[in-house]
Amino acid sequence: MERMPAFDSTADYLVSNELRNAVNISVALGRPLLIKGEPGTGKTMLAKAIADSLGLSLIIWNIKSTTKAQEGLYVYDTVQRLYDSQFGDQDVSEIKQYIKLGKLGEAFVSDEQLVLLIDEIDKADLEFPNDLLWELDIMNFYIPETKETIQARQRPAVVITSNAEKELPDAFLRRCIFHYIDFPDEEMMARIVRVHFPDLEKALLEEALAAFYWLRSVNGLQKKPSTSELLDWTQALVVGGISYQRICAEIPFLGVLLKKNQDFELVLRRLQSGGLQQKATSIHTRRGY
């Protein structure tokens, strides 16, 4: 087997050892990689990072609740053909011009190997993953209308993300390599923030992280803030010129981190009772999470 260059962290995406292994295993075995994890842990960004790292281009297939598996392969635009036959001067006997390849189809006919991201597969109907089993396994499909078989020229590296809104069928899971992205610990998070804000003051970063992990540890939050919210918040702190002393005392721009009213009130109550100051020290010494 031809050996692929191995995937690794890129300039703007840090990857853990296990995740890197999982990606390389999936690429080496030619099996789709199924990624789950808390929102904001960079599931979708992973595909982009893989593409960047391996120097391949990326095709994104965003799944919605109405997406059908067939759309990913091809769409036969019968309505257009019918209209053309009634009013047009087009030659409608050439069916091929009404076949439009979907994202999966595009990835198959590409001359170069690429990365295909099937984003949020759990949004679609329950049967959706099952309908793609054959195509992802054997990497070809048949178009009855034109009696054509589309065969993948280069097996694409397939990354599938799921938010666990629906259970995925067993038959589908059996063919995947699975990885669950843990929420980063403080050390890793500091590195992630550094990637995005290389010039950030050390004190500011430490305080921001302490406040952030304290927030996440508050019991009863309906939606815990995630990495992307932390990055937005850091941006807000920098733009707002907030000095680091104020961060833990009052958590400025709390609305950037918390999106639910109840959460907001809960945290404000805790802040007033001095929750963070008491906890801040213990957060600093805590290891792992």
Binding site: L82, Y180, D185
Partner: protein, 398 residues
């Protein structure tokens, strides 16, 4: 190779199939595990486990299978075989990461033997295996086990130890659950029907073909209303004192039921230990916020799905005797059991969710009443697994 591990996994309840096992073998042949137990741990987990809910069981199986691996000659041989196969990719890795050149299989063998001998001395009977120290000399310094902490640089924790930590315990489905998990489970309860108001925005294919043919090929699109759930739900929850330990769990279920908007109708009632002639409208069970149970039965049609939540633990008198109610203000003319049977007769689909884990039922304080009530209502424990089983009962007629 490692068939025992396959069996251990299955015994632990990780649903590993042969397909996945063959994939695993393929991966081992390609040397994807690297020559370390840690590499093997992550490879096996990625290939064999398909949900974070099984990570915990996987960890336990891994720990069970590898914790007492003695450094026996057969094992050493096994490791060497494994090592042989993974050599080419290893070499690449080693060159990339650490200057270990020049080395060959012989040297590796020797190093490994030394290591095995050393470990026997250090660990007195060899509780753990190669790589436990996290300082594997096989050019895999990047593969250290602490990777479980993402990007952590620690070299102290082995895969076995990491497995023994059971960090994924929270993801088990037989553990109790969060609001969101409840919602997902409740969504399974649906029965679709057309007869609802709403915009006609779904293409009726049959109708379109018909109408188009009527018009001799002139396209005529016919739209219909999308199907909607027609299931109605009524929840009754015990808010008695013995339920206090479970109150946050139960309120999560209620939150979820309230949030899942796909039911046609959702009703909530409360009771204290057992249901008698009155049902309460809020958890404090006050007289002035209550309705007669008979009225509820009259008002709610039989196709409401009934979910009762309670520990079903009380003194038998509360269930079997007239005047047995725990609340001294209201005397009940009929025993609680009669009321429960009445509910069961009225609602064709009903289930009882019990926050006490299934395995404790025979041994808990209320084992007698649990037994009696579970004869009236199918009883499940209040976990994802239990909730999903109950959904089946609620969908299909008993």
């Amino acid at each position: 190779m490692f068939t025992g591990f396959f069996n251990t996994l299955r015994n632990e309840g990780v649903p590993v199939s042969l397909t996945e096992w063959m994939t695993m073998m393929e991966a081992l042949n390609k040397g994807l595990a690297g020559a370390s137990l840690n590499g093997f741990y992550y490879l096996a987990r990625a290939v064999l486990v398909k949900s974070e809910t099984y990570y915990d069981r996987f960890d336990m199986a891994f720990f069970r299978y590898f914790q007492n691996v003695e450094t026996s000659p057969e094992l050493a041989e096994r490791v060497l075989k494994w090592l042989e196969k993974s050599l080419p990719p290893l070499q690449v890795d080693a060159r990339q990461r650490q200057p270990f050149a020049p080395w060959d299989l012989e040297e590796m063998r020797k190093a490994l033997e030394e290591r095995l001998a050393q470990q026997k001395e250090e660990h007195h009977g060899g509780g753990h295996w190669i790589g436990t120290g996290g300082t594997s000399p096989f050019g895999h310094s990047g593969y250290h086990p602490a990777g479980l902490r993402i990007g952590g640089e620690s070299v102290n924790r082995s895969a076995v130890k990491v497995a023994a930590q059971r960090r994924y315990r929270d993801f088990r489905t037989d553990e109790t659950l969060s609001t969101r998990q409840f919602e997902v489970a409740l969504r399974k309860l649906r029965e679709l029907s057309h007869n609802m108001e709403g915009p006609r925005d779904e293409l009726d294919l049959e109708g379109t073909i018909d109408a188009t043919c009527q018009k001799a090929g002139q396209l005529e699109l016919v739209w219909e209303r999308p199907k909607k759930n027609i299931i109605k739900l009524v929840l009754m929850m015990d808010s008695g004192g013995s339920m206090n330990p479970y109150s946050s769990l139960c309120s999560r279920l209620f939150n979820a039921a309230g949030k899942v908007s796909h039911f046609k109708d959702t009703r909530f009632y409360y009771f204290h230990n057992c249901i008698y002639q009155r049902l309460y409208l809020d958890p404090s069970c006050r007289e002035d916020a209550s309705v007669p149970t008979a009225e509820v039965l009259n008002n709610l049609s039989q196709d409401y799905r009934l979910i009762l939540v309670g520990d079903a633990s009380m003194s038998t008198g509360e269930l079997m005797m007239t005047g047995g109610t725990i609340s001294w203000k209201d005397y009940n003319e009929e025993p609680g059991l009669v009321w429960l049977q009445r509910l069961a007769a009225h609602f064709k689909h009903a289930a009882w969710l019990n926050p006490i884990p299934n395995s404790y039922w025979p041994a808990t304080l209320g084992y007698e009443t649990i037994k009696i009530i579970s004869r009236v209502f199918p009883m499940f424990e209040l976990t994802i697994d239990g909730l999903e089983q109950s959904m089946k009962v609620l969908k299909a007629r008993r």
